[in-house]
């Protein structure tokens, strides 16, 4: 490991000690496809999709796990490399339930989806990650069709038992990104590789359902899964990548302030992911941040002002309710002074809301009796 330069596709690029070929290429803006690689974690070299040709090496090398060396000559797009990647993709496609590629039907995932949905009369059964799948994306790019090898039958039934995460092992390519995310990113240490050979499976604590394992449902595994093997249960079938807009916001739960991407369909949040560029969380979320959004759509939401009359609430207009509040407060201030009014602001709501409330109490009522639950 040393500082130096290497050649990638005939151009010289500097590198820092410890950088892999993949990292140098990424910095230089040279795209290398990856499936198992998860930034910031130990490379596993499991998928072999990121192979490159290195002059003098006997075989193609996985760029994610090969350190850059001074004077190295790397080719990322030679015919050998391209055909190796295509074969890898064919093997992966045949390894499970990856039926999303139709030979000769074009390379646009959305068009393929629409064509299939039309042909089959419905779309609910189509893979929930269609259009958001690295395997599909690369298969289409490399012209892999999934027909080169006989397709394996699924070894394991899906896990549908827990309320948050669908684990569809028939779509798992054993890339291990979920294992890395769980163990090296979030360090919840709930899942690992289990069994061997064709029986291989990602397992939680001796192959138990997630709910009986150390899983805390942070959903980091779902976020990093490159296929449809791990899916948000709440979003399944509702969320499709082409019919949501994404909005960045801040999580409404604890004081860490994680940056979220809201996936909004027809004015309704249907999924949340972490913003990889966002500080301080760098893409990470917890169970509440990822899955705790649908309270806003509860039927129990307050939709109109209420005024108590004869012990019961009745609906009122804003004018009526605010006039009543103003009259009552004016009366109390006139009789007992402004300090007979007190208010508690909300530590869950916006800065702008708390500012306005204290402005109301101080600047309008003329009392400093304003506090909030900082002590709870």
């Amino acid at each position: 490991m040393s500082d130096g330069t290497l050649l990638i596709n005939g151009t010289t690029h500097p590198f820092k000690p410890g950088q892999t070929i993949l990292e140098v290429a990424e910095e230089a803006g040279i795209a290398i496809p990856t499936l198992c690689h998860l930034k910031g974690t130990t490379p596993t070299g499991a998928c072999r999709l990121c192979v490159v040709e290195v002059k003098g090496a006997r075989n193609l090398l996985a760029s994610c796990s090969t350190p850059a060396e001074n004077g190295m000559e790397v080719t990322t797009d030679s015919p050998t490399v391209m055909s190796s990647r295509k074969m890898t993709l064919e093997l992966l496609l045949s390894s499970g339930n990856h039926d999303c590629i139709t030979s000769g039907a074009g390379t646009d995932a959305r068009e393929l989806f629409n064509a299939r949905a039309e042909a089959e009369g419905h779309s609910e059964h189509l893979c929930p990650s269609w259009g958001d799948c690295k395997l599909q994306e690369y298969a289409l790019a490399y012209g892999a069709t999934g027909t080169a090898y006989p397709r394996s039958k699924p070894t394991y039934p899906p896990e549908l038992k827990n309320p948050m995460i669908i684990r569809d092992f028939s779509r798992c390519i054993l890339c291990g990104r979920c294992v890395q995310a769980c163990n090296e990113v979030q360090v919840n240490e709930a899942i690992s590789y289990g069994y061997r050979g064709s029986e291989s499976k990602i397992v939680a604590l001796g192959d138990l359902p997630l709910g009986q394992s150390a899983c805390v449902f942070c959903g980091e595994c779902v976020q990093v899964c490159p296929t449809g093997a791990l899916v948000d249960k709440k979003s399944k079938g509702i969320w499709r990548p082409w019919d949501v807009e994404t909005i960045r916001t801040t999580c409404p739960y604890c004081g860490v302030g994680c940056q979220q991407i809201l996936h909004v369909k027809e004015g309704r949040i249907v999924k949340i992911t972490g913003d990889e560029e966002g500080l301080p969380n760098k893409g990470r979320l917890c169970v509440k941040g990822r899955f705790g959004y649908d309270f806003i759509y509860s039927d129990e939401r307050l939709t109109t002002p209420l005024i108590r009359e004869n012990g019961e609430f009745r609906e009122a207009s804003w004018d009526e309710a605010l006039d009543l509040v103003a009259d009552k407060l004016k009366g109390i201030i006139a009789e007992s002074g402004p300090d007979a009014i007190a208010g508690v602001s909300c530590a869950r709501s916006l800065n702008e809301d708390s500012y306005q409330m204290q402005k109301l109490f101080r600047g309008v009522f003329k009392t400093n009796n304003i506090d909030h639950c900082a002590r709870t």
Binding site: V187, T250, V325, G343, L350, K359
Partner: protein, 528 residues
Amino acid sequence: MTNSFGEFDHAKMFFIIGSNMTEAHPVASTFLKNAVKNGAKLIVADPRRQNLVKYADLHLQLKVGSDIALLNALMHVIIEEELFDPTFVQENTEGFEALSAEVAQTSPEAMAPICGIEAEAIREAARMLASVRPAMLCYTLGITEHTCGKNNVMSVANLQMLLGNMGVECGGVNPLRGQNNVQGACDMGALPGVFHGYQSVVDPSVRQKFEAAWGVTGLSATPGLMIPQMMDGLVDKKVRAFWIFGENLANTEPDIRKVEHELSSAEFLISQDIFLNETTAFAHVVLPAAAWSENDGTFTNSERRVNRVRTASTPPGAAKPNWWIFKELAKRFGQTWPSNSAQEIWDNEIAALAPNFKGITYNRIETNGLQWPCPHADHPGTVFLHKEGQFTRGKGAFTPTTWTPPAEVADAQYPFVLSTGRRLYHYNARTQTGRCEGLDDLLGEETCDISPGDARRLGIHPEETVRVSSRRGAVEVKARVTREIPDGMIWMSFHFREGNSNWLTNPAYDPETLTAEYKACAVQVEKI
């Protein structure tokens, strides 16, 4: 927090006291665990064998409420063995002699019976803590929710100043804030003594500034009431109207029977909320508010970072943004406030009127937020405070503190110590998480967390419903028998109305901050 979450993953030493980070601040804990996996040392001081203990080099399993005894004993060793930072103490602090005199009395041997930790373990912890500089000290409500909460905070600050761990990257005193915007609510002046940006109501020049800016006269120079005083005021009628915005006090304040008596005594109660709840039940008027993703605005996180919140969907029915509701009320008092959006409120008032926020405007926080202090438009924000040992008041003042026991301790009638906190799958009174599909499936009811030894002694089986009672009330909940809990202790939360720990908790307060002692009261546990 004096420092930032971004420092967690490359910090070399952590001292975590009174913070159940993996459940209360899960994402922050992931960066801490990353650091530990990369070789950082971790000392966890907590009465419970909580999740972080698995990653800790040392677990100081102190008795509930003995924090000052432990911290003073650690400082005793650090001074006795000259492990402190003499340069920092000399140049950046004052009051070292007084601190030395206080902790001279608090040898590990003397404090061991109070803490329930062997003297040698305390000595070992002091040496380990001093062996790697800087160390990040993090705490949460385990420090503050005690009748000695303020002194607890002073003690952790004393320790970090003594070690010279202030004003440096990967150091500092770092309270992880509970609510998403509790930092912001403080910053915005939802406190009885300060306008936003911590500008004192007592200072005439500050009042003049706000009188001019708001176009008003006669701003009050008298600091107002804190929540417990307001609640008392409802009963003695000194407070006649009470406006509760987005708080379910009936579930979250200690001693629910007392709280409900106070709320029911209110002459005129206004509740502004997104749902009906146990508190709105006492209201005379309920105002329906927009929720989180239904309006634009900002939250400020624990590390003082002002982040954008954006609209994703419209509020239901006639529900309105909260800032609009306050503005409309002001109008009925003859005041027309010019700002008419969250951005106008922030840019034209909040930033303009507080030096610490002056450089933060919406156009600068489109992507990542900025951390205050941020005094001007070119300022990059402040990642850690007190750089080069410069404190707000000049030199950092050591404030010697003496251990005091919780207001209520276990006795023959109530032989267990109840401590309380939050669980991973819910948030406070479950107003939100209780209405999210799936979260109740992950945790559907409150439990009484009890040690295997105590459960065996009382003949209590896992999942068996037990009765937990205190001098305030009683609840019936299932027993969760777990090795997390030491003998003699019970642990619960206030997430659920049924089995809510606040039927039991003690409304005893820190005399200065009026923070309640949620973390310690005496209870009895019985088979039914």
